[in-house]
């Protein structure tokens, strides 16, 4: 499933390919030099056949061995120049194309980083991956191969035609006439091939997505024994890809075959007409030989035209797919005139004012949340599963923006603050702890790379994450997907420690203790209590035990804050609160 914006607003594939010129700009001198070399290369290559023709007509016909040597020397020199030029230009051509590819890839990565989480939720990683690897590869191959080939083919054909006209204009006219059917077939090819290539590339992204998802979900698949089922699904995607691949090639087979045949037919016509002209004395044998030799030079460009056009088409659809991502504006970014914030000047008063949030399918999960968290205060958010707690706490650091109302930090709308500063002042720890493939230390210092040993140690202590010292390399042990695997509880403690290291003005914790056992939870709460004493905090809770961290509890119900108060106070006053957080013992005993 690839996500496309309003098709009316989208530019044509050709326009998108043209837009890539901005990535060519830094290499304009190299490219200029390259294209010059391409032309020189053509000139060198094309200058050889006439010399050969002249050698046959001249020294060989005259039996002049010395002059033949001279001609041979000339051909050798031209040949050497041609070879050297070919080597140099190919060398730089691929290097340049690869630099361009790498540049676009880096820019795409940077853009993806800036895109809001909603975008990433919608797009399968495999589709993004296909754009970053396969599509950019196609673009690179076009710049390194197809485009150069096209330029040289056009250049070469022009020069050859000019020479042909110079030798014998009637024959040349005959050759030029073959361009008409070539053009017509080429036009039809373009129209059909482009959508076919696009659909194949899209499907290739689907196959990558299926592969990626099955790799990530391997435990869930194995736990249920659904390997064969997943293989069946993958098979369907792969089969679809096969069909689309074949369909695309069938389109190619219809056009390319004609190209070669037309070129051959042209050669035959030249020979027949040329022979007649020679017989009538209007053309010398050497001239005809040279003419045919030259015309043979046209065979390759024509036969390869289909291939070049296919490359061009693929590059266009690739550019189209890449720009689909580039053209998605990040929903969340710095407003013009956004202010910088920094830790030292923030008091930490956080206020939600009439905050609404609707998913893009229209479901409104927050319907006017009003809540003020005073500097240094800790407020717990309670609510049923799916009541929007996680959404609510994703708003202060602008991981999402509200669809209505506003959130202020010390009275300023958070959207008027620079993102970079905001996110260092407001730090969020998620329930699902994402650890990256790097050392424990680096994972902990993620939000504050300048954290020293003491900060890290303290955070480890607060989160009861002392197990890190028992890892094979202590804090230097590599964890995450490419490293040592940790249990859910261990991961969660590290995620908590990571948030604590930042020492932010506002700490947002999304059910940070859910995977901990009671004993550890108690210890963490105790230690965390000290940190929270002078930090503004918003804590999502599921358990009465976690509520102990908070000064006040806010109940999120029906998209609003229905009640705010102390735990026992709310237990008495609010039925809904009781439903959510009443002690579970009685139920179990019942």
């Amino acid at each position: 499933m690839s996500e496309t914006d309003d098709p009316r607003l989208r530019k044509s594939p050709l326009a998108n390919l043209w837009r890539l010129k901005q990535y060519l700009y830094p290499y304009r001198f190299r490219l200029g030099a390259l294209w010059t070399m391409v032309l020189l290369n053509i000139a060198a290559a094309l200058s050889i056949p006439p010399v050969v023709g002249a050698a046959i007509d001249g020294p060989i016909a005259d039996r002049d061995l010395d002059r033949l040597w001279a001609f041979a020397g000339l051909i050798a020199a031209l040949g050497a120049a041609d070879a050297l030029l070919a080597l140099t230009r190919r060398y730089f051509q691929t290097s340049t194309a690869m630099s361009i590819e790498a540049d676009i890839r880096a820019a795409l990565y940077e853009h993806l980083q800036r895109l809001h989480t909603g975008f990433h939720d919608r797009w399968q990683t495999g589709q993004l991956l296909a754009r970053v690897t396969v599509d950019l590869g196609m673009i690179r191959r076009f710049f390194a191969g197809g485009l150069i080939f096209a330029i040289s083919a056009v250049g070469m054909s022009t020069v050859i035609l000019a020479q042909l006209f110079w030798i014998e204009w009637r024959l040349a006219l005959l050759v030029a006439a073959t361009a008409v059917p070539l053009f017509l077939i080429g036009r039809g090819f373009f129209k059909e091939f482009l959508p076919a290539a696009r659909s194949e590339q899209d499907q290739s992204g689907e196959v990558s997505s299926a592969a990626e998802e099955s790799a990530l979900g391997i435990r869930a698949i194995k736990a249920l024994g659904r390997g064969p089922l997943m293989a069946g699904r993958f098979d369907r995607e792969a089969d679809e890809l096969r069909h689309r691949g074949v369909r695309k090639s069938l389109i190619a087979s219809r056009s390319w075959s004609a190209f070669g045949a037309i070129a051959s037919a042209g050669l035959g016509a030249t020979l027949v007409v040329g022979a007649i002209l020679v017989a009538n004395g209007q053309l010398s044998l050497g001239q005809l030989t040279a003419f045919i030799l030259l015309q043979l030079g046209l065979l390759w460009p024509i036969e390869a035209a289909g291939w070049v056009m296919a490359h061009g088409n693929e590059a266009m659809t690739a550019a189209d797919r890449v720009y689909e991502v580039f053209d998605t504006e990040p929903d969340i970014r710095d407003r013009p005139g956004a202010r910088t914030v920094d830790r030292s000047t923030v008091r930490g008063e956080l206020a939600f004012e009439g905050v609404r949030y609707a998913y893009d399918d229209g479901t409104e999960v927050l319907r006017g949340v009003d809540l003020t968290v005073k500097p240094g205060e800790t407020v717990a958010i309670a609510g049923k599963t799916g009541s929007g707690k996680t959404t609510l706490v994703s708003l202060p650091s602008r991981l999402n923006d509200p669809t209505g109302g506003r959130i202020t930090l010390d009275g300023t709308d958070v959207r008027d603050l620079r993102l970079d500063g905001l996110r260092s002042v407001v730090t969020t720890a998620f329930e699902e702890a994402t650890l990256f493939s790097m050392s424990v230390r680096e994972n902990l210092a993620l939000g504050r790379p300048d954290a020293d040993e003491r900060d890290v140690e303290e955070a480890v202590r607060i989160a009861q994450a002392d197990f890190v010292h028992d890892l094979p390399y202590g804090l230097d042990t590599r964890i995450g997907e490419q490293g040592l695997s940790l249990s859910g509880g261990q991961r969660q403690r590290l995620a908590l420690a990571r948030a604590v290291v930042v020492k932010p003005a506002v700490l947002v914790l999304d059910d940070p203790l859910s995977a901990l056992d009671v004993h550890t939870e108690e210890l963490v709460e105790h230690a965390l209590g000290q940190v929270l004493r002078d930090t503004t905090a918003l804590v999502v809770v599921h358990r009465p035990s976690t509520v102990a961290l908070a000064d006040r509890v806010a109940l999120l119900h029906g998209g609003r804050i229905e009640a705010v108060g102390g735990h026992s106070e709310l237990l008495e006053s609010s039925r809904a609160y009781g439903d959510v957080l009443a002690a579970e013992a009685e139920e179990v005993a019942a």
Partner: protein, 616 residues
């Protein structure tokens, strides 16, 4: 100490380097390279075998096409040597007309050949790729969790995307050019030898140079392309990981550092790729140079021969044409050589995956169990992930059919490990685990999974709707069954409240749902699977109290007639167990009904007291 360090190198710096697949990038000993080559050739052979008839047909078409193309210079020669004199001397046009007809025939033949070839080769190529994709996917599915943890999901993805793409590119471009060029070389050589053996021998003098150049390139570029396959895999691993964790990246402003690292990997990949292509550029220049050299030699020698009257000018012209025909395809082929080398490197990688030993193999002669009672037995089970850190030293435990046991213990006590052993994510290093007296290793994968289902901590949702995700528990389940499962675990209510109900798309990894909701969906999925043995590994941690209560109630019904192993730090879930087993460092320290353990005053009693305190 150093041995210790060596063993753990995996967890320091780069991920594990041990498997053959990865080190091949830096291979330099000839023996290993030969092994790698033959492995990938075997793979290629096995890919082509089912299509050998089609491939033979394709080669046949190319032979015909080759002759059609080859006819042109002969016709030209014939036209010049005989057609022209016939007209000028006798006014006889019949020869030239004959040539015109012949040209039309060859053009038509060429058209048909090319058309049929492209269509047919696309069918064969895509069918081969399709089969390979499925083979690789299935292999990855069968490889153990231990393998996946080592290999990482990014690499699994890289093998199936970027490596496949390299091979696709090869099947799509230029295999015909390769075959044609080879035939070209042969036919032209033969034709030249027939026309004028001496001149032919001289023309071919440069050919050994060509071979030397090709050999050099194939040697050096194989190294470069292997390296490039690896750098792109590392790039993909990083891309997948950092995009998967984008929320954390943004929340902790890791963008800058990520860009830096990605930039470096991007650069490594660029340099590795460029290397192969630059070597290719050298070859390309070389081939052209040799081609020109050949022209000079033919012109000189042939010209001299013509002067001596030993050969005709027409013959010389034909030779010069042939030289061009000989080298032009080779010039183009050099470009394809790139693609070929890259695909070869990719094939090497994939053949490595396909040759990977399956650590949790299927039994050769499986035992069948019909309707098992669900009795589980750990017999002297030992297990470790790393040799120096034994997780289960020697575990004996019998769980009678239908019993629900709760595993309790600190992090690292071995609870999850036990669950993974019962689900056969790993096999025990010593001892055995038996279901109704049958060693798990003797069961087929399908039998095992029908009977034993684990709900893991990760609550993984697949791309698709909620209904589809629940249906995974029992493929083909009706909507009623799905709704029923959701109702039982208490997920129905929230699902119905979503705008599209069961048809709501969960988004990537279930991003549309909250953690608790995901857990409920996973629960419904497991309920639908209806296994004899159910394992819940921390499966309720994200639930709030009302949901947990519902699940609790459901569990009593669900677990009533099944064997269950529950791992939970919330004792509320433990309460429903018939029996509690307390683990400490892989050993059973307490074992008995919950009430009895509370009374006995051991560790469990202490845990229980704390938990009760926490409820207030």
């Amino acid at each position: 100490m150093s041995a210790h360090q060596h063993r753990h190198a995996a967890w320091r710096g780069r991920a594990e380097q041990a498997d053959a697949e990865r080190t091949s990038a830096e291979l330099d000993d000839a023996e290993a390279i030969r092994e790698l080559r033959s492995r990938s050739r075997r793979l290629l052979g096995s890919m082509m075998r089912p299509h050998r008839r089609s491939i033979a047909l394709l080669v046949g078409i190319l032979v015909v096409q080759n002759f059609a193309t080859m006819a042109a210079p002969i016709l030209v020669m014939y036209g010049i040597d005989h057609g022209i004199p016939a007209i000028s001397e006798r006014g006889d046009y019949s020869i030239i007309v004959g040539i015109a007809v012949a040209f039309s025939v060859t053009a038509a033949l060429e058209y048909l050949c090319v058309r049929f070839y492209i269509a047919q080769s696309a069918r064969v190529g895509n069918a081969m790729l399709y089969a390979l994709r499925n083979r690789v996917f299935w292999k990855f599915q069968r490889l153990s969790i231990a393998f996946h943890e080592r290999f990482t999901s990014g690499r699994v993805t890289a093998r199936q995307s970027s490596d496949m793409e390299s091979i696709r590119e090869m099947t799509e471009n230029g295999v015909d050019d390769l075959v044609l060029a080879a035939m070209n070389v042969v036919t032209i050589t033969v034709v030249m030898l027939v026309i004028d053996p001496l001149l032919a021998a001289v023309s071919l003098l440069t050919f050994p140079l060509m071979l030397m150049l090709a050999k050099w390139f194939s040697r050096v570029s194989a190294i470069a392309y292997r390296k490039a396959r690896e750098t792109v895999a590392v790039l993909i691993v990083y891309f997948v990981e950092s995009m998967g964790g984008i929320r954390a990246v943004q929340a902790y402003r890791r963008e800058g550092r990520d860009r830096e690292i990605f930039g470096r990997l991007n650069e490594d990949n660029r340099l590795a790729q460029a290397k192969g292509h630059q070597q290719n550029a050298i070859m390309s220049g070389g081939v052209r140079g040799i081609g020109h050299l050949a022209t000079v030699v033919v012109l000189l020698f042939g010209g001299w021969q013509a002067m001596q009257g030993n050969t005709e000018i027409g013959v010389l012209t034909a030779f010069l044409l042939y030289m061009k025909r000989f080298f032009d395809p080779l010039n183009e082929l050099v470009q394809f050589y790139n693609v070929l080398q890259s695909a070869t490197a990719a094939l090497e990688k994939l053949s490595g995956v396909l040759d990977e030993r399956i650590e949790v193999p299927e039994p050769g002669e499986p035992e069948r169990i019909e309707r098992p009672r669900g009795e589980l037995r750990f017999d002297e089970v030992t297990f470790y992930y790393r040799e120096d850190e034994v997780v289960l030293p020697n575990l004996d435990l019998r769980i009678p059919g239908g019993q629900t046991i709760a595993l309790v213990g600190a992090t690292g006590a071995g609870k999850t490990t036990m669950a993974k052993l019962v689900s056969r994510f790993y096999d025990p290093r010593g001892g055995s685990i038996r279901l109704d007296g049958v060693d798990l290793r003797e069961l087929t994968e399908a039998d095992l999974r029908d009977n034993v289902v684990m709900i893991t901590q990760e609550n993984f949702l697949f791309n698709g709707t909620i209904a589809e995700n629940i249906e995974l528990g029992k493929p083909g389940a009706s909507r009623e069954e799905i709704v029923r499962a959701a109702e039982v675990v208490g997920a129905h209510e929230f699902i119905e409240a979503l705008p599209e109900g069961y048809g709501t798309h969960v988004r990537k990894r279930g991003g549309r749902l909250s953690a608790g909701q995901r857990q409920l969906v996973v629960f419904a999925r497991a309920f639908l699977a209806d296994p004899r043995v159910l394992i819940l590994d921390e499966a309720t941690s994200s639930l709030d109290i009302p949901s947990e209560r519902l699940v609790q109630r459901a569990l009593r019904t669900i677990l009533a007639d099944r064997t269950a192993i529950i791992i939970a730090h919330r004792l509320s879930t433990v309460e429903i167990a018939d029996r509690v087993v307390v683990l400490s460092e892989g050993l059973v320290t307490e074992d008995g009904p919950p009430a009895a353990l509370v009374e006995s005053g051991g560790n469990y009693a202490e845990l229980h007291r704390r938990w009760e305190d926490s409820l207030v």
